[in-house]
Subunit: 358 residues, 2 copies
């Protein structure tokens, strides 16, 4: 075993097992830092594609320093167990979305202290090695779920892996991790699914009244159902507990619609307060935000022209949303900016001939 | 009663009752077409603001041709009834989100054939006359819920109103309308609320694992709770029926997590199929879409520079999303384009010095 590259504490060479979107993306990111990477996959075609993209050499390899297991969730325990046995000096991590049950199953295996679980919070609506990118993890959270029995050098190696690929480390024990992703990922996914599932069989014309809200709520329900089935089964106890809480709120809403306005209002208020906890877009900022609406023809270059004019105004854009209009070759662009800049932006754009308003 | 403006069949003058966001926006749009508009509101300050923005003159007026009732949902029946009685020649419409119960209550009133309900599918996270815009309705759906007893001249007037302000008319009977908005607006709103409500009281650190999916699902749960309480109560029967269907699916998920993978898979699949019915952004297009990721420093002008470079490539942008990274002064921009253009865009941006990947 040797160091993976100069100046790095990552033990090398690195073996990636599973060359889908996530595994190949880790490999590409490591190659950009000169790390020696080998690639393995039950489907040889995946290895071929990953190799052709410069993600590393075909594996396996005799004496890997670090094995990164990026196979589908249900296959992870066996593949991790095999790796711990086959390479008695290697550090092993996996990238699956659910960690607690997995960690318990691995804890009893020979070599378990050389295993540290991790979970990069990154993905794509696409899958497979062709969709991979060496920059998929830049700036994304990467949960590391070390246990009390984890070897310090194993924890250090997995931390170095996350750091090298550009992610932001979030340390959590496995149980806490699973409870957190049940709340911020698995439950919202299922509520998106429940909203979308009701649309099936809707009479013609009902969807003509749909707006941006429906699109936002249902977007993630379009994800791969096979992968999600494995994720949900892997976190069944924690997801189920949350679903039962939701059923309590749902029952309050149904009862409230019958007779009790206070019960509805209480759930609406808790929901509104909950949205304030969600980080991102405007959540980190302490300034009040405003939206400026701009009409643009749906033509190449128009959006660029608009952005260039916005840039000339010197006002920072926080977020953009494009809404293609019903039955018209025109879009409405919603530009989110600090509220104190809104009037200035409207004036700047109007003076350049745009139809802009707040 | 006279025509509101040359070449229009809109009966004038128009009286707007309720000068909040929606009423004042209708007034501003009509003024842009030279329509004579009067403004009324239980809060004189709202009329003052609307007048100062050029939305019309302080009302009421002796003999309005069209009365547009844009007051909060619970107040609509009384205000419509008063208008029908007080101005026996006027056509009356309202803009409330729920129509069936309202229509039945109005059907028994003197002058009911002069009433036609309508519902513009437009809004904002802001409220009040200062947030109004004469272009709020451009390209948005505007449901018109005429009944068998509606006078043809009343239906024609409300259609002309929607057309003048730039909306796309969707004709529906009131019951169908309420069933449609329960499905595409009220139910998704409540499922967003249920996801967000679970976040309250989440332990520190759980939200550090949140991604774009959580933000999308919970966004609309941040809306005004008072307004939504009135909307939901007004459509209680239809919303309640959908919530009971959702409870059935929720019970299937809970039972499935315990023992039955097929039950979970069935709900996931129905959800995925449902998302294909949602119109908008990519939904209308027959071409396969792809996402190109670009890193930008969070500085004024950077997004504009990026858009300008994108525009020079001659490739049409379908959608943009900006994701501010965790703990870094850098953002990731997701650019949605036709899949066959993705590689060309990556090359065009890379050659101009951007870190772009798909």
């Amino acid at each position: 075993m040797s160091e993976a590259s100069a100046g790095s504490v990552l033990p090398g060479p690195v073996l990636i097992v599973g060359c889908g979107l996530i595994g190949t993306s880790v490999a590409l990111a490591l190659r950009e830092h000169g790390v020696e990477v080998y690639l393995d996959d039950a489907r040889p075609a995946n290895v071929e594609v990953a190799v052709s993209r410069g993600a590393g050499r075909p594996g396996p390899v005799d004496n890997p320093g670090l094995v990164v297991v990026a196979v589908p969730p249900a296959a992870v325990p066996d593949v991790v167990g095999d790796a711990l046995t086959r390479w008695p000096n290697a550090i092993v991590t996996d990238l699956a979305s659910v960690k607690d049950d997995l960690g318990r199953r691995i804890a009893g295996l020979p070599g378990a202290p050389r295993y540290v679980g991790s979970h990069p919070m990154a993905g794509s609506e696409r899958s497979g090695p062709m969709a991979a990118s060496g920059r998929l993890f830049e700036g994304r959270a990467w949960a590391i779920t070390a246990s009390d029995s984890s070897e310090p050098r194993a924890v250090a190696a997995v931390r170095e892996l996350a750091t090298l690929v550009g992610a932001v480390i979030v340390d959590m024990d496995a149980g806490t991790h699973d409870e957190a992703v049940a709340l911020v990922s698995h439950l919202p996914h299922l509520l998106s699914v429940l909203a979308a599932a009701q649309l099936k069989g809707a009479p013609d014309g009902y969807l003509a009244l749909a707006g941006p809200g429906l699109r936002d709520v249902t977007r993630i329900a379009g994800s791969d159902t096979g992968l999600w089935l494995e994720i949900l089964q892997g976190n069944a106890v924690k997801v189920s507990a949350l679903l039962k809480d939701v059923r309590g709120d749902l029952d309050s809403l149904i009862a409230g619609l019958d007779s009790d306005a206070n019960a509805i209002a209480a759930v609406l208020r808790r929901g509104r307060e909950g949205t304030r906890l969600v980080p991102g877009r405007h959540g980190d900022k302490d300034v009040e935000m405003a939206t400026v609406f701009v009409q643009i023809p749906d033509q190449p270059g128009e959006l660029s022209r608009l952005m260039a004019h916005t840039g000339e105004s010197g006002i920072n854009i926080e977020d953009i949303r494009i809404d293609h209009e019903l039955g018209r070759p025109v879009g409405i662009v919603e530009v989110a900016i600090a509220a104190h800049n809104a009037e200035a932006l409207v004036e700047a754009l109007t003076s350049r001939g745009w139809s802009a308003y707040r």
